[in-house]
Amino acid sequence: MEAEAAKFIGAGLATLGMIGAGIGVGTIFGNFLNGALRNPAAAGGQIGNLFVGAALAEALGILAFVLGILILFG
């Protein structure tokens, strides 16, 4: 196999890490809606926490994405 081909495969594999970020962000927003529908009065105050949690989960997926970009163009 050519080294160039291996690079593309590696970059593709690296982005698989975003699956975990997708699951994480989905869980956070799903659970937020779950809680918000049970107690809508308390939902407004938790928007900040919601986005921070989503950002923290997303950051790990972004790490995988950056790694993929690095492999492809680095």
Binding site: G48, V52, A55, L56, E58, A59, I62, L63, F65, V66
Partner: protein, 265 residues
């Protein structure tokens, strides 16, 4: 195929607009002072903020007009954030947090209107993140002295578990500037690459359709891709605001850790 892959990255290349002579700084080596498109984007962003804020505060009225309420909305958003996360002491750090928020927001939005996004440069986001973490360290040591290290030792935890928890806390603290910089960089880079890739689909499918015959099936695909670009642009506006907001919230949380150290706020 190689060209199609390499093209979306072209928009992130640094180009020199005005080439200034290199300067040798002792201890740092040679520094290229050239005025690049990244510098231009940041200058325009900073200028836009100053112009907006000057316009907002030019004729202050008790009942805000349309323009003034924009400024009050932005001010109130960050003020409420700082107050609810850091508390009373937060007022002291408001200027830094507000500046950071406006600067990142302006750079993100200008990236969607102009050709260049300054926040898609790792150098820019790393600078912002390092600045934030240095402020957190400075405030932490100035307020708590060596008590700053209590940050890594959660109270009320048995010592057996502390052996496990303290290294984790230290590693997570060290990772803060890394994730802070990479999150903003990755989101901006990824969003703009996706926009360019979808825009490329329109052109290549349109070219396919222009060939006639079976290629005419490319037309619905091109229309779909155009819809995708419109939807992605709308999403990018949300992301541009959200990433500036998240950077600000995390800055507040990190500051709160050291400002209210020990008395869990």
């Amino acid at each position: 195929m190689r060209e199609a892959l390499a093209d979306p990255i072209h928009q992130f290349e640094i180009q020199k607009i005005v080439d200034l002579p290199d300067v040798t700084v002792p201890g740092l080596g040679v520094i290229d002072l050239a005025f690049t498109n990244s510098t231009l984007a940041m200058t325009v962003a900073a200028g836009a903020i100053v112009a907006l804020m000057a316009a907002v505060t030019a004729r202050p009225a008790v009942v805000p007009g349309r323009l003034q309420s924009v400024g009050e909305l932005l001010f109130g958003l960050v003020d409420g954030l700082v107050d609810s996360i850091i508390g009373h002491e937060g007022r002291r750090y408001f200027a830094f947090v507000f500046t950071l928020f406006l600067f990142i927001l302006a750079m993100n939005f200008l990236g969607l209107f102009l050709v260049f996004t300054a926040t898609s440069q790792l150098a820019v986001t790393v600078t912002l993140a390092v600045m934030t973490i240095l402020l957190v360290l400075g405030v932490g040591f100035a307020r708590n002295g060596l008590g700053f290290f209590k940050l890594f030792v959660p109270s009320g935890v048995p010592w057996v578990i502390l052996i496990l928890v303290v290294p984790i806390e230290i590693i997570s603290f060290l990772l803060r500037p890394v994730t802070l910089a990479l999150r903003l960089f990755g989101n901006m880079l990824g969003g703009h690459v996706a926009l360019k890739v979808f825009a490329g689909f329109i052109v290549s499918l349109g070219a396919l359709a222009a060939g006639g015959g079976l290629g005419l099936f490319g037309i619905p695909g091109a229309v779909l891709a155009l819809g995708g670009v419109v939807a992605l642009t709308a999403l990018e506006f949300l992301v541009a605001f959200l990433q500036a907001f998240v950077f600000t919230v995390l800055t507040c949380i990190y500051l709160n850790d050291v400002v209210n150290l020990g008395h869990g706020h």
